[in-house]
Assembly symmetry: C2
Homo-oligomer: 215 residues x 2
């Protein structure tokens, strides 16, 4: 296993100062940002759909319906999985220097589909454990037909890049006299108060409070 | 111009009840969710990157460095632009019925690049006006070299789909007796208090307050 995730394919073509290829940075961003976008190619047309990812060791995983296009139907196994978080809008004194504070990871490679029932179950359990520690054991077991209807896919973390932009506007000194507000409008994804459904009889689990108070 | 954005390529293959193809729904989701992901194909490999989009009439636009891969360097002009918003995690009593509340729009087609300086300037101004009404006029004008370094790209809204999932878990009645919490953990993107940079001399503009109080 290589320490670096830089490959000819994953290397940033520009803004090299924002790029990171170490496993620690890439793994942290993946672990903190479960919402992601997955791209594949279908009859020559790229398609990108929102989904969720989770990481176990040096693989990143996602799941979906066995009937869906993320499980099959692409031209090839080649996919790209991108997890990103927006941290703020950066308002400079020129249009050109406006930008966004963000963190993102782009992973490219060939998707693998897992068919073994025990392995699929263990991977789905690891997805739950990452989001809601302890919840899996309280749920009824998945049925054979539910497992069959669920595709679990994975991508080796071999070729990837992280990109990070933080802080105030970065602009030429002569622009700073322009009489317009300069700074950052912070953005964060916030969890709200859990809404039990009308059938709920159980107290609010601790993992929901934990998610809500995450930094 | 067709009223429907459904084409053979944009039609959902499954979960038809979540699909929408009318311009009103697709336009609303695009207008409310400027952060998006853009996919293209490079040497047979799909690549998806986070960016921002804005809509004018029946076109969706994005911009980036003229040197970047979103401006050129793809195998073809075929792209997919997906804007999505996560509204909540839906916790059912079985692993299988867990899902996510969200809204998304997927637009596919061939990207166009705009080269005319006046047209590029007008499109970038419309991007600013959408986010920060009135800000454009307070900035210094873009220079010729800044405009040259900025690629403005667009995609006709011809083939697209919207997908929406809202509300509590939807699960078989017999699952509801399982002793585990059931409901929704709401999620929202929140704007924080604007952070002026150390050079700022101007009062906070009204458009920042407006963004922060948006529903």
């Amino acid at each position: 296993m290589n320490d670096t995730l830089m490959t000819d394919e994953s290397r940033l073509r520009r803004e090299h100062h924002k790029g990171h290829y170490d496993r620690e940075t890439v793994y942290r961003i993946l672990d903190e940002n479960p919402f992601c976008h997955l791209a594949f190619v279908q009859q020559g047309q790229p398609v990108v759909i929102p989904t969720m990812q989770w990481r176990v060791g040096d693989m990143v995983y996602w799941h979906g319906s066995s009937k869906s296009r993320i499980a099959h139907g692409s031209d090839s196994a080649k996919v790209c999985l991108t997890a990103s978080r927006i941290d703020g809008l950066v308002l400079a004194r020129s249009a050109f220097e406006h930008t966004v504070n963000f963190e993102s990871v782009v992973v490219i490679g060939e998707a693998q589909r897992f068919e073994d029932t025990a392995q699929k179950t263990a991977l789905l359990e690891s997805f739950f454990d990452h989001l809601f520690p302890g919840r899996w054991d309280a749920l009824r077991a998945m049925t054979a037909s539910e497992l069959k209807a669920t595709a679990v896919m994975g991508l080796p973390l071999h070729s990837a890049s992280a990109k990070i932009r933080r802080g105030p506007p970065n602009e030429p000194e002569e622009d700073r006299a322009t009489p317009v507000w300069g700074g950052v409008l912070p953005i964060a994804m916030q969890f709200g108060k859990p809404l039990p459904d009308e059938f709920n009889q159980m107290p609010e689990p601790g993992y929901l409070a934990r998610l809500r108070t995450k930094p």
